[in-house]
Symmetry: C2
Subunit: 399 residues, 2 copies
């Protein structure tokens, strides 16, 4: 009469929130819940670009897992997933193997480099606490070298590949950070270049045109250069080579051009599209009644628009609620519910006090949009750990 084992892989938005929901939905005598994560902390992926730019410390972005989950109800295993053996109901970690009755795959994303040569080797990506503090320190170090090494332009040129959500939010933070770096290292601001390169004909493809125009004007005014309709052909140690043959020398290249599902999912033999599983309506893996998928690894179709929803934090969090209830239903022989995303709105930050966004049909600009962004961020912290978590990690302006 052993309790059913629920195994959650990954402590990002989908995974940690699944753990939080399951510990709430189920009594500790009903199931044995295990969460596996590489680090002993969860982090807010949507804040990482601020840590990378150096405008927010990474300790604000991460939350110790034992501050979120009840360690009496959930086993936490700090380890790295190496392989999912779907037919053996087994997961291989670096240091042990785990079996399960129910599995939640929430392993997040890998960067999608679209086969651009040298990108993987020479560009940074905004994907973890480790990666973003490295970006921050790389930029600092490059600026510190500038006056020691004959002031070569490339040391203070930052190329950001991709003008999607992360790319735009990152250059917005850089526009705030660069003047501080210039003061710190005695460099004239006008010498520094922040170049945002996008293959599509516009920044923030698919976003409202008026909002996009606001964003471009705002960022250009603050010293960001945009190159749209400009695919990157190659990335090397010195910089990037564009499809038109032009070379931009840059010590710092950050790729934000896209993500795909974690490679472990396709390596396990599941059917994926760019690493994402087109899950059933109840968020289960097709053909596997006891495996759920959340977050970046799950592909959900927006039937009205007939295209996939972008994999956002918002959707991952909502999926965790559905998964929590559906596992409970499975265990108790109840009926599983369908997942329906409830898109409350989308806000892109452009830096301190500046943002653009849409909530319902309402467009938001500047300070209003920025305030809304903070509301969204704080709401997540509230779902995660109630008011104490908002106080501890929230972006609050108390005075």
């Amino acid at each position: 009469m052993s309790k059913p084992k629920i195994l959650i892989l990954g402590g990002g938005y989908g995974g940690i929130m699944s753990a939080v929901r399951l510990q709430k939905e189920l009594g500790s005598d009903e199931a044995e819940i295990t969460l596996v994560n590489k680090h002993n902390y969860h982090y807010q992926t949507t804040w990482l670009h601020e840590n990378a730019a150096g405008t927010l410390h990474h300790d604000k972005t991460r939350i110790m897992i034992d501050n979120i989950i009840d360690m009496n109800k959930v086993n936490f295993v700090q380890d790295t997933v190496k392989e999912i053996k779907k037919d053996e109901k087994l997961v291989i970690l670096d240091n042990q193997e785990l079996t399960y009755d129910y599995l939640i795959i929430a392993l997040g994303s890998d960067p999608e480099t679209f086969g651009i040569q040298g990108l993987k080797e020479n560009a940074f990506s905004i994907r973890s606490i480790n990666s973003v503090r490295k970006i921050r320190e790389h930029i600092d170090y490059s600026f510190a070298r500038y006056n020691n090494e004959g002031q070569p332009d490339e040391l203070i040129t930052i190329v950001v590949g991709g003008a999607g959500f992360t790319g735009i939010e990152f250059v917005g933070e850089l526009a705030d950070r660069v003047p501080e770096l210039c003061r710190e290292y005695d460099i004239p601001r006008e010498k520094v270049r922040i170049v945002n390169i996008e293959a599509a004909p516009t920044v923030l493809p698919g976003f409202d045109e008026e909002l996009v125009e606001y964003a471009i004007n705002n960022l250009e005014r603050r010293g960001v250069e945009f190159l749209v309709s400009t695919p990157i052909k190659e990335c090397n140690e010195d910089g990037v080579i564009l499809a038109n043959g032009e070379e931009i020398k840059a010590a710092t290249i950050v790729w934000t051009g896209g993500v795909r599902g974690n490679h472990l999912v396709e390596e396990a033999g599941f059917e994926t599209m760019r690493g994402r599983v087109k899950v059933d309506k109840d968020l289960r893996m097709p053909g596997f009644d006891y495996i759920f998928v959340a977050g970046d690894c799950a592909l959900i179709i927006d039937e009205e628009a007939n295209r996939p929803y972008p994999p956002t934090a918002q959707i991952a969090i909502q999926q965790a609620y559905t998964i929590g209830r559906n596992i409970k239903a499975l265990m108790n022989g109840g009926k599983l519910e369908e997942f329906k995303p409830d898109i409350k709105g989308t806000v892109a930050s452009l830096g301190k006090g500046e943002a653009i966004g849409k909530v319902g049909n309402k467009k938001l600009f500047g300070a209003t949009a920025s305030a809304m962004k903070k509301v969204i961020d704080n709401r997540y912290l509230f779902l995660l750990g109630g008011v104490p978590m908002v106080i501890k990690k929230g972006k609050l302006k108390l005075f």
Copy 2:
């Protein structure tokens, strides 16, 4: 009836203090005083190791020149000296040429690498604001890379070449800084190595034995490793190779093994010993009645000990007083005075609240020595700019 031109080369201890003294000794109708310096700021060379370690911000160490000298009495030229043409009474700067009637050479030092292969190319040195903020950021960046790049030991190994004054003070600061870096980048402290390598059979050669023992015990307890009687044979991109053939891999190598006088002095055709001019007793250049030398470029013999005084800030400052009075005497046909260093004491800091030193025959340890060090530092600021300067830049503990 034009006023005599006094030209000061260099804004370090000797140069800036000469300017301060001359503007006090002479009326503005008596001479035209010009100070040439590469930067628009003076800095305290004796604090640079703290900036390099990251325990003190470099803005605390530097002082804007227009905050020190009276711009109505002294012309300040921000430029780099390229050549001293001694026979034409001419100095060539990057952007202009200057003539003089009286010249003060206070151009500071160059690192002395004793012919160790690869040292110049691969080791950092603690010599300017630019160089120390680069060291600080290089260490930060190396620590930030550690968890991204498979945790190779060399990224968190810091080799300090030379256990003289600067070397010992620097490893003392590193011992304070490393635990902070470990917290910042999630690295266990015991993985980090701080290795101080010295060719001589002891650290702080020539210093009191009891004090040296105190220093070694203190620093070893705080995680510094010492290798004495260990010459470095070679320095390369990966680390250092010792004379005994052993290799120590290290991402950061800082050379503090010695300094020599500025290369421009010997290039001008003056007779030097390791770049230093054995000046006359009144601090003039032998054979040149109108040229004075101060600081690292001047060699002063301690006749009792029959060896040169180490070129310290203390001596450079005292020389500026003598030079100020002697130039006044020369202009007025008075008698020039002899320079006699008044060595008040020597204190080496070992980090926060820890130091060793000797004042007269009294040995100082720990907190007492550390307090004395601050007194010395604040006294210099007082000489430079009175009480306001001490308040602005001093190391004060007001509460």
